[in-house]
């Protein structure tokens, strides 16, 4: 930890972010502006999530970082190493062992607990930004809870495609007040946010916004009575562990149309395989 303050950020910055976090928790789903700092990696690589994690992390925390569900991809590995180095905290890939989970674009399959905090990396915190380009205007719409534009967008989807065609970053209403971007998680994960026992924190570094959902808070995916919200997933079991209830990634295996569907949550898949579950493309784990 030589040469750094604990968890990289200086105490003044942490206090500023902590104050923003408390207000964010007090107003579920509302985007609180904060003074996003320059980090040793570029905007777009999870700087918002990193700053939130750095501000909440303590020496006793156990950190897990996932990128699209995987613990072993570049973004996850580098962020995990960043905190191991600057805060000296223990890290893990096991969802159940972590106290703080920083995530890019997935929620772990395993149900999170009351004593865990999940930190989302958010590229675009404003759910209305594709419909209204003016930040002043979207701020006013959020202030007045004027979300007609989003309902029109969903209706146009139904009129054009016969269904709501949003597969990720599917807009939600938090506590029936604020329209919120769940970050680009698949719509498959949206139901996990509703009444989650864990505290959910969101950090958008480039856009300089922090927001939060307290535990046990109602999170409703927008829909219509005659076109209810539904999740989409590949109609296959996981090729490696045979799971039928997890979110799947499609992996192209050759240039002759070969493909493999595997759990996006690598910890979930590994745990199932270790427990003896084998998919059609998998193999029995060697006994250790």
């Amino acid at each position: 930890m030589k040469g750094y303050n604990f968890a990289y950020l200086d105490e003044q910055t942490k206090r500023m972010i902590r104050r923003a976090l408390l207000k964010a928790v007090a107003i579920p789903g509302h985007q609180v502006p904060f003074g996003s700092r320059e980090m040793p990696l570029p905007y777009g690589w999870g700087t918002g999530g990193i700053q939130v994690t750095a501000s909440i992390l303590g020496a006793a925390d156990v950190l897990k970082v996932i990128d699209q569900g995987a613990d072993d991809t570049t973004n996850a590995v580098s962020i995990r190493r960043f905190f191991a180095r600057t805060a000296g905290v223990a890290t893990t890939t096991a969802t159940a062992e972590a106290t703080v989970i920083q995530t890019r674009h997935r929620i772990p399959e395993k149900q999170l607990r009351e004593d865990q905090i999940i930190v989302y990396q958010v590229p675009q915190p404003e759910p209305l930004f594709r419909l209204e380009s003016s930040r002043i205007e979207t701020k006013r719409m959020q202030g007045l809870a004027d979300y007609g534009l989003m309902h029109v967008k969903l209706y146009e989807d139904v009129a054009r495609f016969g269904q709501i065609s949003i597969s990720y970053d599917y807009p939600v209403m938090v506590n029936e007040r604020y329209l919120m971007s769940p970050s680009p998680i698949p719509a498959f994960d949206n139901p996990k946010m509703d009444m989650m026992p864990a505290l959910q924190l969101f950090g958008a570094g480039r856009e300089k916004r922090i927001y939060a959902i307290p535990p046990w808070t109602r999170v409703r995916s927008l829909d219509f009575d005659d076109h209810p919200f539904r999740t989409i997933n590949a109609p296959h079991p996981c090729g490696l562990c045979g799971a039928t209830d997890s979110y799947l990634d499609e992996v192209v295996t050759d240039d002759r149309g070969g493909r493999l569907f595997v759990c996006s949550d690598t910890d979930h898949c590994a745990e199932r395989r270790a427990a003896g579950h084998v998919g059609t493309d998998g193999f029995q784990e060697a006994a250790e």
Binding site: R15, L22, V25, I27, H30, I56, G58, G143, R177, P215
Partner: protein
Amino acid sequence: MTLSAGFTNPVADAQACFRSVLDAMARPGRIHTITGIVAPAPLCEATAAVLLTLADHETPLWLDSSTKAARDWIAFHTGAAIVPADRSTFGVALALPDLAGFPNGTDEMPETAATIIVQVDSLEAGQRFVLAGPGLREPAILAVTGLPPDFAALWQRNHALFPRGIDLILCAGVRLTALPRSVSIKDA
């Protein structure tokens, strides 16, 4: 004149105190215990710790007149400007002040509302309130000694402003809890 020290271990103690406040704000009414500080009279340990954790030169403070003896300590350790209630980011009081005197935010920027740290006599016994709202799976009970008898009615006026409104951090001795504006409070 000598001033007493702040946190024993500034980085770790502030982090621990913040996590307590964060959890209390996320689960209204949950009681946390803080450590690592000797408070200047008349402040209790929790009040002093919350101030050191959250206040600095960016957060104008309002202090109620009964905290006068701790004024130098607060000024030295936080560097915060002391201002009238209507311009404050944080308030510190030994009795619940008039909430209407503090900024309660705007519809577009409700986060600019003040947070008031209210020091009460006890968070273990006393008047019982039923809390409900985000963060609570089922209604929770909070017992407090030191809030006005008509607190539930006063709070309702604040809660009705949502998303605007004041957030409270209640401190008693080494214990603290929080009441965000989103929580509804009834007499038990």
